[in-house]
């Protein structure tokens, strides 16, 4: 791997600081080489020849939207339909179980807390429809650009083929000029909103299930704890937290414990109320 030269190193530090300031996410040293690749389309579109030129445009401040575009470009928006399909199936089963066992008639509430371009909540909406469960699904992301794509429900041929079984594709999508577009009925089942997990007010009310997959790994340990504590406050007692395959609450916070019923999922730990002071960033 090439070591960044001094001017380039300075620019990377600026972008890393901007990303952390806006989202809480950090760029690990072994991912720094991705910065230039991620920013190249933006640099090309603006005729900027180097990372330093992009820094100069940022610092010049003539265009406030540029900082947001840089942050959007640096966020890892990797996602796919039915990612970790076994986990998503288990989540859908858990939601059905919550729906069936609910004493009063109400729709289960689900929060997809880092939905990127929408594949996760759309997958869940399909899986729940197959189980004849109607749920309230809130999907949030820190990137407005990702949310614009999610709301449109439009995917390229490569995106639609990653993880989505063909029978579900023909049931829920239509071909349109080389892209594939989700049926309005499916998209309408999801409320997409912009939300920064680190600092913004939490969505109103409590949820039965929160999916927060592959986000915590980009946060510092202290921010990770803060976000987990905030998520615990947003869950009903007995609600479930779903993390990414390489993520855990163990050693991060006492606000959650492993679910005895749903393997790999977590539930709020009633024995450890969260001190309010810890929720401040």
């Amino acid at each position: 791997m090439l070591t960044p030269t001094a001017p380039r190193r300075g620019a990377i530090n600026v972008f890393a600081a901007l990303l952390e300031q806006r989202t809480g996410q950090q760029i690990a040293a072994n991912r720094e080489w991705l910065v230039e690749t991620a920013l190249k389309p933006l640099m090309r579109a603006r005729g900027l020849a180097s990372l330093d030129a992009l820094v100069a445009a940022l610092v010049g401040g003539a265009e406030p939207a540029l900082a947001e575009q840089v942050v959007d470009a640096l966020l890892n928006q990797e996602t796919s339909f039915f990612r970790d399909a076994g986990v998503l199936d288990m989540v859908a089963d858990a939601v059905k179980s919550i729906s069936d066992e609910s004493a009063i008639s109400r729709r289960p509430r689900i929060w997809s807390a880092a939905c990127s371009t929408g594949q996760e909540p759309l997958s869940l909406a399909m899986a729940l429809d197959e189980r004849q469960v109607r749920a309230e699904i809130i999907a949030t992301d820190v990137s407005e650009a990702a949310l614009v794509r999610a709301r449109a429900g439009r995917f390229s041929q490569f995106e639609i083929q990653r993880g989505l079984p063909v029978r579900r594709m023909v049931s829920w999508f239509e071909s349109d000029g080389g892209d594939w577009v989700a049926s309005p009925d499916l998209v309408r089942r999801i409320q997409f909103r912009r939300l920064n997990l680190v600092g913004d007010p939490l969505p109103f009310g409590r949820f039965d299930v929160i999916l927060c997959r592959n986000v915590l790994l980009y946060l510092s340990p202290s921010l990770r704890r803060t976000v987990l504590d905030r998520l615990a406050l947003s869950l009903r007692p007995g609600g479930l937290l779903v993390l990414g395959a390489g993520e855990t609450v163990i050693g991060q916070t006492e606000a959650f414990r492993p679910s005895a019923r749903w393997r790999g999922l977590y539930e709020p730990s009633l024995a450890h109320p969260i001190p309010l002071g810890r929720l401040a960033r």
Partner: protein
């Protein structure tokens, strides 16, 4: 080791598919048309067949119908892999007994994803 029969009249596509499949730990055999593929399946049925649509001698669709009507002992998974990307073709393939559908051009992630869906990766 899992086995895959790649059926395509294009040598280049067979070569690319073989390369990807071998990195996914498949043992790969090849056929240039549906008739050749059917003979191969009668001799030894693979776990999965990657199947082109338009081929000389016997098309992918005719091969699939013949395979599903045949007395091949096991029921190999069939993944269409074709430039016929319209909804009508995809529905017809499912009705004829295809398990999955890859729209060309494809990459390693796409192929791996579809093989996972049919339980083979």
């Amino acid at each position: 080791m899992k086995t895959c029969l790649v059926v395509d009249d294009s040598k280049v596509i067979r070569k690319v598919a073989r390369h990807i499949l071998e990195t996914l730990n498949f043992s790969v055999s090849e056929a240039g048309d549906g008739r050749e593929a059917l003979d191969s399946c009668m001799a030894s049925a693979p776990d999965v067949i990657l199947l082109d649509w338009n081929m000389p001698v016997m098309s992918g669709m005719d091969f699939l119908r013949a395979l599903r009507d045949s007395n091949v002992a096991s029921r190999p998974k069939v993944v269409f892999c074709t430039t016929e990307n319209g909804m009508g073709h995809i529905r017809a393939a499912i009705e004829a007994g295809a398990d999955e559908y890859v729209m060309k051009p494809f990459d390693r992630e796409t192929l791996e994803s579809k093989l996972q869906i049919v339980g083979l990766a």
